[in-house]
Every structure is written in structure tokens, then in C-alpha cells.
Symmetry: C2
């Protein structure tokens, strides 16, 4: 399958080169695990052609830089830092969620152990700040502050997400706040850093940050839909994975908040102590749809993308690059990956 | 018991205020756990007078600043960042080592869970960079780079430490390299950052970094001795804790490398699959001593402290502050805590 992000070959190569150079700073014990995580090597350390992920966030950083200054090169360190942060959080998140699969392959903790996953995640986290600092860019300090605040938000979102699983009721407003922290904040940071490293004005950095925040929340709505109805062959995750772990995702929370009698049946599955079997999972997915959760998330994603595109107006951006950001946002809503 | 670090009341208060202000940026779910870890609150969230640790690292940052410019105030954000990094690594390390006690109280993962400990550790890690960036100091970018490189070294040292436990043989040279990465790097970073934020020359920053690196390695030698012979009432750790977990610490590695026949008996305990009972632990400790491990670490610590003090010569430092750093180094070798 071709995704829009595939077309940016030079940008993707620069991101990949930057990531590989960063990971190469780690000693063998850690770099071997990080290389596996990024899909560059297999478990035995031999070169692999595994996908290193969609690289959506760093690509957004570079497109944001182009939107400001028609040049993405100065933003490469920022793009690499963002992708390192994203991946550190994936490695830790997979431990927490006890997820066995990531990008169609066993997760780091599953292959190497929990200790290794904690420590390699920590190393990637630090590496992000190291890449920013060693960029030699005068905006590195501001960028580092923005990235640090974002990581904190991201971690707080993950903590809220984890606590929500244990709670019987979660309101849609707090669920949206959690998704903003967990996902939108890093995407907003990705675009803001691109604008910053391209020398954007405060207004431009703010506009691109808003774009990213809105796109990021749309992205989470779609991710949550794919966590229920996505094709495991495409998403690389187990079918119904979010229902299996009783995650209070955006569509689920919207459905549970409906007045329909089916919402009570759905709530029953979320207080059920035993693991859900396949028939129950299918029924739970059906109930999310019947209670309007699927439609609600799809509509939210669409209106967020419209708002994201609108935030690029009047920011004095390079029109062609701004249009590409808009296209990328629109594609996000229709994505199957 | 009084330790030398107790006497720096204004410095300690500034560090404590800075830490509390940083942790207050976290939302309740995370700050409550961090406050427990720092000993400010009990499990229920009520104020506690638990010790927040020795605060040796941030105090070294402030003393290094005084040694350069006779003023420690500008280095407070750096001191706070160093202590946040130290504590993030403690929180993660306690998960990895499955340690139940820290500062005489149950560890974070034990009280709140592994997920919470991973995420709160991540939040403290990010907070360190946030504190540096929001200091508004022109040296924040350089400081951030130094801190990031140090965190990476620290994590790599922890990974090496973990792998050593699984290996039958570890040479003393690689054990020293591990201790340098795991402990000395952050103490060297603490003093270097103090010098940097006080506006020190490259030569002064280098001299204070060398001081910290040597002191840090001495510190680890002593810590390893206390991990075997320390009084649990004073150290807050279980007796023989490092022997129990079959850690290849510095004195143990030195002892295992001896030519004495007792070294083979000691090696037997380190390949023994079952947990060691009290009699075996006592015997193992005795063997470390017989094989010269205790003396070797004590002598190394002493010569490292001498070298640390010597690195402060000819750096154009404020004599009184440099002498205090020297005293602190000498006390480290004699410490019981």
C-alpha cells in the first residue's frame, strides 16, 4: 500500500539518516535493541527491511519548515528529536500495555525483556535532547524547552489513559484532554519545532502548532477507530486490540455516554472482569457503532482537520507547502494504516 | 546522624524549593507519586518528613558554581535538573532491580505499580530538561546537551550493570567503565554544570568535571562497600542487598579477580542458581574481604579522592569554595550513609 508520506523521498532519507546517526551514538548493547525497534535489523542483529514506521511526525516537522522558509534542511535535527521521543514513548508504552506486536513484529520488551525496554526507551529519550543540543542551532534551547514540556504532557496523557482503564466512567471531555496530551501535543510540537527551526515568527510557530494539535487529535480519533475496526494486516496490531484491553478510547467513551439502552450493554463489557472472547469483542464493536461512537469520532476527525487547515490561513506561509500540509491532514482522516 | 551536606542550609533550601516548584508542574496523578518518592508526602498524600535524599549531586553543582564565581544562585536550575535526572534514574532502577526499599520507605513501583513508576520516571526525566530550558540562561543549550549526553551514559551504565549480573565473569576494567557511566558521569555533569552556569571558562568547567568524575567513581566504590557492609538502619537498604542480587560490584569484581583459592569459592556463590541464605551471604561477604575486594575498593576510593582534589589545582578557583569541595570529597570516602 502506498501512503502519501512515501512520496517525500529526500525528506524521509534525511530523517532516516539522522535517526541512524543518533542511534549509532549508543553503545552496541543499546543500539542493537534500538535498531531492532526501528526495523533496521532483526532479532539477531542482521539487516532487515522492516518498516521504521510512518515517520509522520518528523515529516510534519520538515513540511512545517518548508511552509515557513521553503527549506526543510535546518529542521532535520528537530524532526529526528521528535521521532526519537515518539519511539521512546512507544517502547515504554508497549511495556505498560503489554502489547506483543508493533509494526508487525514482536515488541522490544517481548524480545529483549522489560529492563532492556525501560533503559533503551530512556536512552532514546535522552538522545532526542542530545540531537537538539548538538544541532548548533541558536533555537536549540527554545526547541528543547518545547520538546520537554511536550514529553511531560505525553507522559501525563499515558498516565491518564492507564488510569481510565481502571475507572468505570470517563467523560468525553476528560477523554479528549487525555488524547490531546497523549497524541496531539507531540504532533503540535512536531510542526511548531519545524516552524521554529526554519526561523518562523511567533505567529507562524503558533499557527503551525495549532495545525499540529488539531491534526493530532484527529489522528487519535482515527487511531482509535482503527484500534477497533482496522485491518490487523495493515495496522500491525491485533484485531480489536483496544477493546480487548478495555481501553476507554474516544469512540468508546462517546458510545458509553449515549442515552441508548445499548450503552448499558456496552458498559457491561467494560466492567467484565474476565478476558472478552471473540463473540463478545465483535458484539462490543457493534455496540460502539450502534451507540454512535464510530460516527462521533469520524465526524470529530473531519471537523478537526478542517480546523487544522484553517489555522494555516493568514500566517504568511509558502502556499504550496501549506497546501501539502493540508493534503496530509485530509489523508490522515481517510487512512487505513 | 549529621552529614556534611546538612550544613549548607540556604543551598539545600534553594534546591528543595526548585524541586518542589518543578514537581508542582506535574498534574496531580504524577505529582502525588513524585512527592512520595521525594519523601515530601506519605502514600496517602499527607505531608511527611521523609528524607528527600542526600542531595549530594545538586549540592556539588552549587559548590562548583561558588568555586568559579563565589555565587551559587545562577546554578540552581542546573542543580535541580541534575537532581531530577538522578531521581528519574532511581525510580526506573528500582523497577529493574526489583528493590523494595529506598530511603527507608517502599519504592515507587512497589507502592503505586510498575506502570506508574515508568511514567513518573519519564516525567521527571523530561522535567529536568524543562527546568534547564526555562531558566532563561544563555548557557541552557550547552547545559542541556551535557545533561543529555550524561543521561545516555548513565542509562548505558545501568544496562551494562544489568548484563553483568547475568555473566559469569566481568573484568575489573569493564566494571570500572560501567561505574563511570552509571555513577561518575552524573556527578561529573553536576560539577561541570555548576561551573558552566557560573560562567566558568572551558578550563574551569573541565577541571570541575574531572573533579566530579573522580569523586563519582570514589563514591561508587564506597557505595558498593556499603551495599555489602553498610548498616541497613543508616543506608536504608537491606543488609547484603548487592550480594543477594549477585551484583558484580567493584569490590566483588576485584575479589573474583584475585588468585586466592577463596576466589573460586566466592565465584561459586555468583553462579549459584537458588537465592543465597543468610549464612551464605555472610560467607560471601567474608570471601570478598579475604580476597582483597574490600581493601581494593577502599584504596581506589582514597586515591580517586586525592586525584579529584588535585584536579582543582591551577583552575583559578575561589580558594574557600574549592577547599569545601575537597572536604566534601574526603568525607565521601568516610561516609556511612
Amino acid at each position: 500500500m502506498t501512503v502519501l508520506t512515501d512520496q517525500y523521498t529526500p525528506e524521509r532519507e534525511a530523517i532516516d539518516d539522522g535517526l541512524r546517526a543518533a542511534v549509532a551514538r549508543l553503545p552496541y548493547a543499546a543500539s542493537r535493541i534500538a535498531s531492532y525497534h526501528f526495523g533496521w535489523t532483526d532479532v539477531a542483529g542482521k539487516p532487515a527491511d522492516g518498516s521504521s514506521g510512518k515517520a509522520l511526525r518528523p515529516l510534519l516537522t520538515l513540511l512545517a519548515a518548508r511552509a515557513v522558509a521553503d527549506d526543510w534542511r535546518p529542521a532535520v535535527p528537530a524532526a529526528v528529536a521528535v521521532e526519537l521521543v515518539h519511539n521512546f514513548s512507544l517502547v515504554h508504552d508497549d511495556i505498560i500495555d503489554q502489547d506483543n506486536l508493533r509494526r508487525h513484529r514482536p515488541t522490544v520488551w517481548k524480545v529483549f525483556g522489560v529492563t532492556e525496554a525501560i533503559l533503551v526507551g530512556d536512552a532514546l529519550h535522552a538522545l532526542a535532547f542530545e540531537v537538539l543540543a548538538s544541532s548548533g542551532d541558536a533555537r536549540a534551547a527554545a526547541g528543547s524547552g518545547l520538546l520537554a514540556t511536550t514529553v511531560r504532557a505525553l507522559v501525563e496523557g499515558q498516565l491518564a489513559d492507564f488510569y481510565f482503564e481502571k475507572r468505570e466512567r470517563v467523560g468525553i471531555a476528560e477523554c479528549v484532554a487525555m488524547a490531546e496530551a497523549k497524541t496531539a501535543s507531540l504532533i503540535g510540537c512536531a510542526t511548531a519545532l519545524g516552524a521554529l527551526f526554519a526561523g518562523g515568527t511567533d505567529h507562524q510557530v503558533g499557527a503551525l502548532r495549532d495545525f499540529g494539535l488539531r491534526l493530532g487529535l484527529a489522528f487519535q480519533h482515527i487511531d482509535d477507530l482503527l484500534g477497533i475496526w482496522g485491518d490487523p494486516k495493515i495496522t500491525g496490531k491485533a484485531v480489536y486490540s483496544d477493546l480487548r484491553s478495555r481501553k476507554k478510547t474516544l469512540p468508546v467513551t462517546a458510545a458509553l455516554g449515549s442515552d441508548l439502552p445499548e450503552a448499558a450493554e456496552l458498559a457491561g463489557f467494560f466492567t467484565w472482569v474476565e478476558p472478552l472472547d471473540e463473540a463478545q469483542l465483535r458484539r462490543a464493536a457493534e455496540l460502539v457503532e450502534v451507540c454512535g461512537g464510530r460516527r462521533s469520532s469520524m465526524e470529530s476527525a473531519e471537523s478537526l482537520v478542517t480546523a487544522a487547515v484553517a489555522s494555516l490561513d493568514d500566517a504568511g506561509l509558502v502556499p504550496e507547502a501549506a497546501a501539502e500540509l493540508g493534503n496530509l491532514a485530509v489523508e490522515t482522516v481517510g487512512r487505513k494504516w
